[in-house]
């Protein structure tokens, strides 16, 4: 395991309660991502790739194991860990660290874009900046946030579509908005869950080109895909099998 690991997961165990039995998706899963690395995670459908990504990205909590970001644990080690409701823990600080990571350190791109339909392109992206800003700090932070938002939308090639609603965009364009939103707060790690899964080959490759460009600029990326062609543009490809990282090839 690299000394310079930015993100390190060890002994992750995640199972879901299914009626009487439990479905174990991750068991003893460990992974480490170095700063500036582009890692692709591959595996069969339903093998738990998204689940792993959620745990890494501080969206979900495993039953066992720990994730370190910059050598700091993501989850509190206090047991039992919340599985369904995180509300009770929001005051105790269990949630606070995860929320902080989501706000400042991680960016998430989902397979199904997940944009807010009521907001236009600009607002969807800007929202990610608002989240980290209190009401009173906002007037001061607003100008910088606006500039960053315009800049990132320009970079993903949507400078001319700022006032459009998600419903008025194509799939590829929506995915670009989602990427812009994930990047607008300059996250340390970008998580992408099958970013091209819903797109035709051509649009998919333009998205991939975008990710590669980001990576060249030093962005750490963890991407899930089941397409080996897509995985090929990563520095390293890990395979998730039986709930653990089975092999890694560079």
């Amino acid at each position: 395991m690299s000394e310079a690991a930015l993100l390190r997961a060890e002994g992750l165990h995640r199972s879901f309660q299914m009626g009487r039995g439990a479905l174990t998706v991750l068991r003893e899963c460990s992974l480490s991502v170095a700063a500036g690395e582009f890692v692709a995670i591959m595996g069969k459908s339903g093998c738990g790739k998204s689940t792993l990504l959620h745990v890494l990205g501080a969206l979900d909590v495993p039953q066992r194991g720990q994730v370190w970001f910059e050598r700091t644990p993501t989850f509190s080690t206090a047991q039992p860990r919340p599985q369904r409701s995180q509300f009770d823990d929001s005051f105790s600080g269990v949630e606070r660290r995860m929320v902080e990571l989501r706000r400042r350190a991680f960016g998430f791109v989902f397979q199904f874009y997940h944009l807010l339909p009521e907001l236009n392109v600009l607002e969807n992206v800007l929202l990610a900046r608002m989240v980290g800003c209190s009401l009173f700090a906002w007037p001061g932070a607003r100008a910088a946030a606006n500039r960053d938002t315009h800049e990132i939308l320009d970079r993903v090639g949507l400078a001319g579509r700022l006032s459009h609603r998600p419903a008025e965009l194509s799939g590829g364009e929506r995915q670009r908005v989602a990427i812009a939103r994930a990047l607008v707060h300059r996250p340390r790690v970008l998580f992408a869950d099958e970013p091209t899964g819903n797109l035709d080959a051509e649009t998919g490759s333009s998205i991939l080109a975008l990710l590669r460009g980001l990576h060249r600029d030093g962005q750490t990326i963890v991407m899930v895909t089941h397409d080996s062609g897509v995985a090929a543009c990563a520095d390293r490809v890990c395979e998730l099998r039986d709930g653990a990282i089975a092999s890694a090839r560079v």
Partner: protein
């Protein structure tokens, strides 16, 4: 920041929120209207119930009345807190109008007219006293008759003529009486008119000159609802001419309350009084205090057993106090002072008389009128509470609507959480949303309710003119107008409750949104 942003955005973009706002608005307006009208009603009742009463009432609630009132009044008149005090006698009687044969059971009230004017608002409710200042008296008087005069064609005898002219010059408007035929004719000729109802001096040769006619009899002031009928427009049509003779039958009662032979006496209808309380105006008549005392055998007299003179009695003393005086404390002092009075001034009283004095109690006018004010107060609270309960429907509606929005927006909640929205933050979006619905709905409702209450009498007029439908019938309620003042503290309180209630309505939605697991929310179909 995102909370406010999303709250405002959702408020604008979700049409369904308008239903919640409308519900809150209607309930706010409804409660405000009910509270204002009922509160105004209560205030008016209080003000009117006051009508005949001084600030403090000294009474022993006994049929035989109580003695030593003059001595007591002389004593307390020196107290710095007391402005004026006057004795009153209450008894029962039958009032008969010989001209129509109508008979009314009445409460007969003995007053010193010049004193009672200074103690209570009684004087302000007299009609003829206002239109002909100084002509209302409870002393012996004849009936004034209209007659021909060279100057204006028709006129009243003196002093009625000059008194009426003086009031007219002073700009006193007759807004109480329905104009009768004489006045309509006079108005056509440009004459100011002769307010009220006077009989004419009819002689075998037609109408004679203005005159004072008939046997002199003591004056009586009669409750206006006995001698007149209130019209839907709030004016009165009088049935009897001023100065007409009426027969009053009263029953003297002895010291111990036993009943003597009834007496029937002639009085002249000198004026009519209106307090605004139908119960009082349809049942009370007022005669001279000393006169009534004599008729009731309540005046000072030699005792039958020869043990000296028994002092004169009254049923009540009404006291006007100076402004800023603590009435409750004063009542306690007055009660004690009266009970010790016989010893202090060294009057020998019989056991019965002593007992009457020891039952004396001084109370404030509010305490003495609880039987009138209390029910209206309860009614106001009850109606406000009922409408408040009905308003819970609006809260439930807000609850449903917001919960529905939370369900519909499950995925969005997941998105906001995935980009860093905390549970508390996401929950507070819904709470803010509820509060915003409350602010907007409450403000609109308060505005609408305010305008409605302020113009409630105009609406009534429109309804009456358009459909002949009068919700607030003046001949029934004896209030001229529907109360139409909105108290700022009511407004503020209702507005605040609307916001709180609506925020409360958002709790379920906020709970759902807050406790939702981000990944689960994102997987939500």
């Amino acid at each position: 920041m995102y909370r406010l942003f999303l709250t405002l955005r959702y408020l604008r973009k979700r049409q369904i929120a308008f239903f919640a706002i409308a519900a809150i608005m209607l309930c706010t307006a409804m409660v405000l209207i009910v509270m204002s009208v009922m509160g105004g009603f209560l205030d008016t009742v209080k003000q009117r119930a006051r009508g005949l009463l001084g600030d403090i009432i000294v009474d022993n609630k006994r049929f035989g009345g109580f003695p030593l009132y003059d001595e007591f009044i002389a004593e307390i008149s020196k107290w710095p807190e007391i402005a004026k005090a006057t004795p009153i006698i209450y008894t029962f009687g039958l009032l008969r109008f010989p001209s129509t044969g109508a008979t009314h059971p009445v409460s007969v009230v003995g007053v010193r007219l010049d004193e009672v004017r200074n103690v209570s608002a009684f004087g302000a409710g007299l009609y003829y006293d206002r239109m002909y200042p100084g002509t209302t008296t409870l002393a012996d008087q004849q009936q004034p008759l209209l007659g021909r005069s060279a100057a204006s064609g028709i006129d009243l005898p003196e002093p009625y003529r000059s008194a009426g002219a003086a009031a007219h010059r002073a700009g006193v408007q007759d807004d109480d009486a329905t104009p009768n035929i004489v006045n309509r004719l006079l108005h056509e000729r440009g004459h100011p008119g002769i307010p009220g109802f006077y009989a004419a001096n009819e002689t075998p040769d037609g109408i004679g000159p203005p005159a004072l006619a008939g046997v002199p009899s003591p004056g009586i002031i009669i409750g206006r609802d006995i001698v007149a009928r209130r019209q839907p427009d709030g004016r009165y049509t009088r049935w009897y001419p001023r100065g007409e003779e009426v027969a009053l039958t009263i029953v003297p009662t002895s010291l111990s309350g036993s009943i003597d032979t009834p007496k029937k006496l002639a009085f002249r209808y000198a004026d009519d009084s209106r307090t605004g309380i139908f119960e009082i105006d349809s049942k009370h008549s007022y005669v001279d205090f000393e006169n009534l005392q004599g008729l009731l055998l309540w005046d000072a007299a030699e005792r039958a057993d020869g043990s000296g003179r028994s002092p004169g009695r009254c049923s009540q003393i009404q006291i006007k106090i100076k402004p800023g005086v603590d009435a409750d404390a004063l009542c306690t002092r007055l009660t004690a002072a009266y009970r010790e009075l016989p010893n202090r001034i060294g009057v020998a009283l019989t056991t019965t008389e002593w007992g009457l004095v020891q039952d004396i109690e001084a109370v404030t006018w509010e305490q003495s009128q609880v039987h009138v004010i209390g029910p209206v107060e309860n009614e106001r609270n009850l109606v406000t509470m009922l409408f408040g309960i009905i308003s819970i429907v609006a809260i439930v509606l807000v609850m449903c609507i917001l919960y529905m929005i939370a369900l519909q927006k499950t995925r969005d909640i997941g998105i906001v959480k995935s980009i860093g929205g905390s549970s508390v933050g996401v929950a507070s979006i819904f709470l803010c949303y509820g509060a915003a619905v409350g602010v907007v709905g409450g403000a609109m409702g308060a505005g609408f309710g305010y305008i409605f209450v302020r113009h409630i009498n105009d609406f009534q007029t429109i309804l009456t003119d358009a459909f002949g439908w009068r919700v607030w019938d003046r001949s029934v309620y004896s209030f001229d107008d529907i109360p139409s003042t909105v108290r700022p503290e009511d407004l503020a309180r209702i507005f605040l409750v609307a916001i709180l209630a609506s925020t409360f309505g958002a709790v379920a939605a906020a709970w759902r949104a807050g406790t939702m697991h981000p990944v689960e929310a994102l997987r939500h179909e």
